[in-house]
């Protein structure tokens, strides 16, 4: 299978191609999407009066003044529960269509699903046995 020196594509195609003109819409859309936020910003710069004050620069203009540092340590234990929850979520997503079509499925499909469920259960049991579900 030699493909030495073969080429059938060109990055500078003819723009008259009707297939390509469809992408003109995308180009126009992109242009509008960029201009839409930029134009008001520029208008504000020209039109709005300027009265800067320290309150306006605060992170939350109408909230409490924040105290202390935001670089604090917090418990990461929750992510373990989230991960274990994912096991159930994934299981449900796959079990549901399987259960709906159960009547028409072969024995092989049943075994395949049991293998899949067992693999997930193994993960859950492992996490449980390791103590990932104990809130310390």
């Amino acid at each position: 299978m030699d493909v030495c020196g073969v080429s059938n594509f060109n990055v500078f195609p003819c723009v008259n191609d009707p297939y390509l003109t469809q992408y003109l819409f995308v180009a126009v859309f992109v242009l509008v999407a960029v201009l839409f936020p930029l134009v008001p910003l520029a208008l504000v710069r020209v039109l709005a009066p300027r009265k800067p004050s320290p309150t306006k620069n605060a992170t939350y203009e109408c909230g409490l003044v924040s105290k202390g540092d935001s670089w604090i340590q917090f418990r990461a234990g929750y992510y373990l529960y989230a991960l274990v929850y994912v096991i159930f979520a994934v299981e449900t997503i796959f079990l549901y269509p399987w259960a709906v079509a159960f009547g028409g499925l072969s024995f092989g499909a049943f075994v395949a699903m049991m293998v899949f469920v067992l693999l997930l259960v193994e993960g859950l049991v492992y996490a449980w046995a390791k103590g990932a579900l104990d809130w310390k």
Binding site: G5, V6, S7, N8, F9, S106, L119, Y126
Partner: protein, 496 residues
């Protein structure tokens, strides 16, 4: 719709065995863990993993007779080329396990070996499929296992940083890959390589193909660490536990290059373009010609100034990705054969080199060049093996690295018999090989010439020496008798 399960089970024999063993490894370490010391657990669990790897090679023997079995949609493919590469990957994983048994990998021994096996399963799947969605899933399985393994030195900031960098780069590269695949699917309505190839041949010109192809190249280029998608490599290689580095630099690279060759030669055969001097044509050959140039120049030049052995080998592996790409740019079956041959040689060599680093660095107190001073006196056998690996990487005959590189460059020259259009790339490759000799010899100078601060002998366990000697024997054998395997690969690639 009824699915025939028997052929699927048969085609997935090795992977199934590995999944079972990975779960067994987890359970075993959970049961025996905490009561015994870590070194003992590593030995026990590692032995089970090794046994599992040996077991997973058995189904491959049963598949030898299957010439080209394609399961629906080509999600699973069994042919001799696939079997050879699955076997190579299993051997590489086994050597990695042997290196790991001797290495400090923390207290989560079971998880470590299980992740290693999961990564290996991803690689086996990657090699054994010709369908983009399965390629994607397999690539993710490999990558996620490797991200976790990179972070395995839990208390080392370096390891965490390396894993985070690897993960973030990997996630972005994956996004590119998936985005590119969506374009390709939109253009052709197919996800398997052959149908895509056929659909593109009919379709001809389309700029969207360019976007799709480029995105796919970004995704796979990240995996093989070619410039400009190499930035993760030095940090990940340096920060990861050394056996993991060895696995990233070899197993994952073999599988990725195998997929890259298949994707480009089968699905994108119509979009080759050309990297011939003065006759550049847009297509993947041109893109890879440029990235190969960048990889060879940057990899080799940056390696010169490295003071850390793992970082040095990381840059050297970027440079090697460049050499390998030269074979792909040739876009011929000779080129593809040379690429596959070189990838095997390179993987064995690099695995050996990282294995020696893993064995010596932990006992010499670090992996900077200075820590390797006078190693020839402290660990003569491993130093000798390192000499073999390094000379093979530099491309000195009669070692495997020389012949691998020779075939790569020969394929590039031969590709255009009238004008020698790729001669510029070959010339650059040869010049850069000469540059690489410098930093490889600097490493040798540290090991063989400079005196050590501390002259005590370094004792290493026998199984490690045996595994590394096996790698060195492979390097020498592939250099002295390259013909059989080369002829075999050549015959199989033509039928690709």
């Amino acid at each position: 719709m009824s699915v025939a399960y028997a052929p699927i089970v048969r085609a997935l024999g090795s992977e199934t065995a590995l999944v079972l063993v990975a779960l067994a490894v987890l359970t075993l370490d959970f049961i025996i863990g905490r009561k015994r010391e870590v070194a003992k657990r590593r030995e026990l669990v590692g032995a089970v993993a090794l046994f599992g790897l040996a077991l997973s090679a058995v189904p491959l023997v049963g598949q030898v007779g299957m010439t080209n079995v394609l399961l629906p949609g080509e999600t699973l493919v069994v042919n001799p080329l696939v079997i050879i590469f699955k076997f190579v990957l299993i051997v590489l994983t086994a050597v990695t396990v042997l290196i790991s048994i001797d290495h400090d990998i923390g207290t989560h021994v079971g998880e470590y070996f299980a992740m290693l096996l999961f990564g290996a399963i991803g690689m086996l799947l990657l090699v054994g499929t010709e369908e983009f969605l399965t390629i994607f899933v397999a690539l993710e399985l490999t990558s996620i296992s490797l991200y976790v393994l990179t972070a395995f030195h839990k208390n080392s900031l370096r390891s965490q940083e390396a894993a985070l960098k690897y993960f973030l780069f990997g996630a972005i590269a994956t996004a590119f890959l998936l985005f590119g695949l969506s374009y390709i699917y939109g253009l052709t309505g197919a996800t398997n390589l052959r149908d895509i190839g056929a659909a593109l041949a009919k379709k001809g010109t389309d700029p969207l193909l360019g976007v799709g192809l480029l995105c796919v190249l970004v995704g796979l280029g990240f995996k093989v660490a070619m410039v400009p998608f190499h930035l993760w490599a030095p940090d990940a290689y340096e920060g990861a536990p050394t056996p993991v580095t060895a696995f990233i630099a070899t197993g994952s690279k073999v599988a990725s290059f195998f997929v890259l060759v298949k994707v480009l030669m089968v699905a994108f055969a119509g979009a080759v373009g050309s990297a011939y001097w003065g006759a550049f044509e847009s297509g993947w050959a041109m893109v890879l010609g440029l990235t190969a140039t960048a990889s060879m120049v940057l990899g080799n030049c940056a390696a010169i100034v490295q003071r850390n052995v793992k970082r040095l080998l990381a840059y050297s592996s970027i440079a090697h990705a460049g050499y390998i790409l030269v074979g792909l740019v040739a876009a011929s079956s000779t080129g593809a054969t040379a690429v596959l041959f070189y990838v095997i040689v390179y993987a064995i060599t690099n695995l050996g080199a990282f294995g020696v680093v893993a064995a010596l660095a932990s006992r010499a107190g670090g992996d900077d060049l200075e820590h390797f001073n006078g190693m020839a006196k402290r660990a003569p056998f491993l130093s000798l093996l390192m000499l073999v690996f390094v000379l093979s990487l530099a491309g000195i005959p009669p070692l495997g690295g020389f012949f691998g590189k020779f075939y790569l460059f020969a394929a590039a020259v031969e590709c255009d018999a009238e004008m020698f259009g790729l001669l510029w790339l070959v010339a650059l490759g040869i010049v850069m090989s000469a540059v690489s000799l410098y930093y490889y010899l600097v490493l040798m100078k540290h090991m063989y010439v400079l005196p050590a601060k501390d002259e005590t002998r370094i004792a290493t366990p026998g199984h490690l020496k045996m595994a590394l000697a096996f790698c060195a024997a492979g390097v020498v054998l592939l250099g002295v008798f390259p013909e059989p395997i080369l002829a075999l690969l050549k015959a199989l690639v033509v039928r690709l």
